[in-house]
Symmetry: D2
Subunit: 134 residues, 4 copies
Amino acid sequence: MIEHTVQVRVRYSETDQMAYVYYGNYASYFEVARVEAFRHIGFSYKEMEAAGIMMPVLEMKTKYIKPAKYDDLLSIKVFIKNKPGIRITFEYEVYNEAHTLLTVAETTLVFVSSSTGRPMLPPATFMSYFEKYY
Amino acid sequence: MIEHTVQVRVRYSETDQMAYVYYGNYASYFEVARVEAFRHIGFSYKEMEAAGIMMPVLEMKTKYIKPAKYDDLLSIKVFIKNKPGIRITFEYEVYNEAHTLLTVAETTLVFVSSSTGRPMLPPATFMSYFEKYY
Amino acid sequence: MIEHTVQVRVRYSETDQMAYVYYGNYASYFEVARVEAFRHIGFSYKEMEAAGIMMPVLEMKTKYIKPAKYDDLLSIKVFIKNKPGIRITFEYEVYNEAHTLLTVAETTLVFVSSSTGRPMLPPATFMSYFEKYY
Amino acid sequence: MIEHTVQVRVRYSETDQMAYVYYGNYASYFEVARVEAFRHIGFSYKEMEAAGIMMPVLEMKTKYIKPAKYDDLLSIKVFIKNKPGIRITFEYEVYNEAHTLLTVAETTLVFVSSSTGRPMLPPATFMSYFEKYY
């Protein structure tokens, strides 16, 4: 499988008046983790999108165990446990600097052709980046 | 049960370069729906929080069926199907103006004392607003 | 001149841990005010963009006088004091329910062709909506 | 004076359907630059806020010269040209990887006591971090 960890420092803009990271803002942390996992295996999401394939999110499940706080340096572990097909599933674990597990999540995305708007199998050039991990 | 519908117009800031509403931004639509459902039954989330009870989110599940787009006037239906205890669960359906179902979601929140940080039963004054619906 | 007022209720997502509306979030309030001012005079920003003209922001100046707070029902007054040319300038005043002036701002936007990426004069059909105000 | 540069990679969540970074999102980049400039001189904004001093923004001016795009690795130069008093002014320049200047901005913030809500001179312990730069 593919496993990768990224670090994200919590911005003031991401907090709310409860002094927690607002629950909707984790989605952008997960997006950063996905894109950096792709970059880690040699693959650019930006270039794929420029080539006419985009990856909208189909489903997200998040459990908020403990709050992330302002200025926390979060470690976001991302796992792609199964080889991508038309869909690709990412799992996430968010830790703070004390190694406390704050959040777990899962997202499923789909490969879509920008021109037709229809789901599609990712092209062979994309899949080649994934071959050795499965 | 409690059922309420709110309308939210999609802002340009909420779109992404796919020309979809960014998947993380639905969380704020759901928050608006929750707060307005509370206001609808006579209850102010703001006042409850000022009185020392806050409601962090424990869990969110979202299915993205079709994209919401810029300037769409969304109808967000929110349901509280079970009487709240320490936890309260909200279900959501997001429709566009053509009555197409775009998104379904569920969030579970917990009542927490601001002073102790611990989960607590909502006070009787809060519960009284809910009595007649269950 | 054109003058219009829109109301926006502050979302929890827009607060920060200072319990103020985060200073960057006013930009989306101003955007809502611009778009609704256009709708008020019979004109759709969405349709103009679909027709190949977009309006990026060139400049923004904001003075934060007093903080907006969670759940405030803000009134945003927007003024287009001069007839648009290649550029269009909007001025804003943000008030809370107690009619306290919270924020004043000014933004200048430019009409740009989506196909060429170059500034352009807005088309006559657009300008016709503005004629009677100047 | 104090000068510092931070790098921020543009997130998908920060783009809009024009495929530009939404104009309101630069505010959070500037915030990151401020906080990291403070950390660079040995000073923690988070700790100052925990000690009862917060720094709301009084004024922001931004000129958008060229758009930042998705996945751009931005360099944000921040300058504190004058020694802070009750107010502190930051200037910013945002560059992309091709060293093109995209945005210039200026923000003025004020030191405020969390308990009284009133402007105050920053404490001597804070000022000591700044002494050697002016």
